[in-house]
Amino acid sequence: MKIALAGEPNVGKSCFFNHLTGIHAIVSNYPGTTVELMKGKARFNDSVIEIVDLPGTYALGDASEDERVAKNYLIKEKPDVVIDIIDCTALERNLYLTLQLLELKIPFVVALNFYEEAKEKGISIDKNKLEKMLGVPVIIINALSGKGIYTSLQKAVKLRKRKYLEIKYDDDVEKAIEKIEKLLKEVPTSKRHATIRVLENDSDFLPYIKDKNKLETIKKGVEFHPDLAMEVSKERHGKASIIARECSEIKRGKIKLTPSEQIDEIITNPSYGLFIVIFTFLLMFGILFYFGGFFQDKVSDVFETKILPYLSSYLEPFNPILQEVIVNAVIGTEAGLAVAVPYVGLFYIFLSVLEDTGFLPRVTFLIDKYMHKIGLHGKAIIPMMLGIGCSVPAITSTRMLNTRRERLITAILLSGFIPCSSRIAIIFGIAGHYLGWWSIFLIYLIMLSLAVVFGKILNKILPGEATDLIMELPNYRRPLIKNVLMKTWLRMKDYVYIVIPFLIVGGAMFGLMNALNLVNIVVDPFKPIISGWLLLPKETVIPFIYGLLQKDLTIAMITTLGGTDLSLYMTSIQIFTFSLVAVTYIPCMIAVGMLIREFGWKEAVIVSISSIFIAIFLGGIVARVLMILS
């Protein structure tokens, strides 16, 4: 048996899912899309039920990839039952999706979540009346505590077809529906549903129409309704509004703001809200560096004092090349673990908490105005924040944006100008360590300016129009640990499965190249660029080349080259130029791989090569400017 969970965003759907399935969920892409579907299994009365968590959407049309996946899954995979989760504090809005589910004529159960919270707000919902009006079973649940979840499962399993509510449109619209139904080819859903989708200009359904001209004539012939798509949507909202009014009682008279609104008064304040956001993030980074450093030391300690010396001495009698390869593979593992758990993991936990409390959506609102200057809107801040952890999952997360254009701009900025934790290590560990705070500040300033400049250029040259922010700001809620961990894991997944193995392979390759002295042959050919243009010691091409594999190797290599005190090896200006160049070209091969996966070869190659050119060009200019200034 297969049960699908449907609902709008922020209704507690994933909570419900986690309660039913535990944490053993499988995430897979819906075929042909970038949308991820969560699948899990629930044990019920000695049988195993497959549970699918559909993406949270406000409608089942074609406005976003998420909507299309939810819709097509319901039509094509035909789950046995759908559980529609509704947020009682916004019953009317939620019923819009419910009414669209009704159009599909698949068996479903309505689960009312946040029932208590709504009651506190003075909204009481008459469950029985709602059941009667919709013609489907309605169950009160509490996704946080798990109350009612099994009852809804029980109802869902036992569900037999009932007489569903059907929206009757205006007579003229109904006549048009009747006529259009005759123009349909074989459809995978009911004819009426397909026709309504056609009326709403759903691009997934227009191909089912035999004669497009006839369709246009019918649509034009409908009197008094110049915009049928709007008419259908309006009618559905109207019905939702009637049902909501009939089934709920709202006690008014309370002008007092809810706690959530009180918090919002402060955070979304146009004049100082952004400062609160900046302060929160600074505090977060402070905590991150403090605890992250602590964990990192522990991990390094284990590797440096326990594993590596033993391994080295154990392998010594064998082949020296083999020793070099294996030892470096282990060092790669160390780099992965030392960064993964403390920095990336902890950071992503923080971000998930901020997202689940409702803080992050407010950030998208506050930052929106500034993001428009680079052709993006507020939502793009979320992948960018993830990029401060690791560029790889960040590039994947650009999928949350609506158009390919937005995704590409964000991904390019992520690759070039938003330093991930490995690049932050270079900024702090090399520039900051040898030159002081001013250099950290200056590098960040240069990267930020570049991001703005390139954002503006990309905005101009990339085809397509900029889209705008539409983002629900859910009530502030206490985050659920299970959900936070689940979300963190989803984001860490790319890091663990792709980045860490690559770090091990990268380490091994590094060992091999080192043992065979392979890299040294490139030192002289690159001399004109490195020494002539960037004014650096010619051997520094080696850490740069390793940096193409992964940025952690850059630090390791420059230390091998220049010794433990780099100030004896390079001048201050050289150290600065080196750090700046090292952080501005492509983050690592894995990020390039991600660009290929998400955008294709052509884009990935163009982005990678231009980012190398930009880094070199910039390095030479900055070196000369600093030279003149000192």
């Binding site: 609102f365 507020g378 539409i470 629900e472």
Partner: protein, 194 residues
């Protein structure tokens, strides 16, 4: 008959709505002979729309004046409605016909529609904590339109502006949900201030 009556009233009014108007002047404007004019004027006098005095011509009565004004208004409203909202290019001759046949009900609805549209402001123009009722939207991208429709912003819906960033997005409350909306979209949602 009704049309002719109304056309005569218009002609008389256009020459003078206070003084007596000569039959010959009316005949010139109506492109008919003075004889048939005076024939018809007598009928108008019977209906108490004009006062008719031989050799002086006719003068609109109070009732006749009101009638003529109503016709004029019907013409203006019809023409404006056709031109502005139905984008009819040759609206004047159409209005010339409509003024005689448009029903009281349709006429008052057209008037209401025009005044509503004139009162409409951009959602962006509302101040914080002001509310409005959505009238219509001018969003060409059907996906964007579908998204804001689905989230609850449809004609007839009441929205309240909660927060507003200068030259930036706004937060609105609609159907008990807070939504952040970018400047561009908010600029294209027209509302009636409540």
């Amino acid at each position: 008959m009704k049309k002719t009556t109304e056309d005569y009233l218009k002609i008389i009014q256009s020459i003078s709505d206070k003084e007596f108007v000569k039959t010959t002047d009316i005949a010139k404007k109506a492109h008919v002979t003075p004889g048939s004019v005076s024939q018809f004027l007598k009928k108008l006098a019977k209906k108490k729309l004009v006062t008719y005095e031989p050799y002086k011509g006719v003068k609109l009565t109070k009732y006749g004046k009101r009638y003529a004004e109503k016709i004029k208004e019907k013409h203006e409203v019809s023409e404006e409605f056709l031109e502005k909202f139905l984008k009819v290019k040759e609206a004047h001759p159409e209005a010339e016909e409509l003024e005689h046949v448009v029903s009281k009900d349709v006429f008052s609805k057209m008037k209401e529609f025009i005044s509503l549209k004139e009162k409409a402001v951009k959602l962006n123009e509302l101040k914080e904590s002001e509310s409005g009722e959505v009238l219509f939207m001018q969003i060409p991208n059907h996906k964007t339109l579908a998204r804001i429709n689905a989230i609850g912003i449809v004609p007839g819906e009441r929205v309240k502006v909660i927060k507003k960033i200068k030259n930036g997005p706004i937060i609105v409350k609609v159907k008990n949900t807070q939504i952040g909306i970018g400047k561009e979209i908010a600029n294209n949602v027209m509302v009636i201030k409540k």
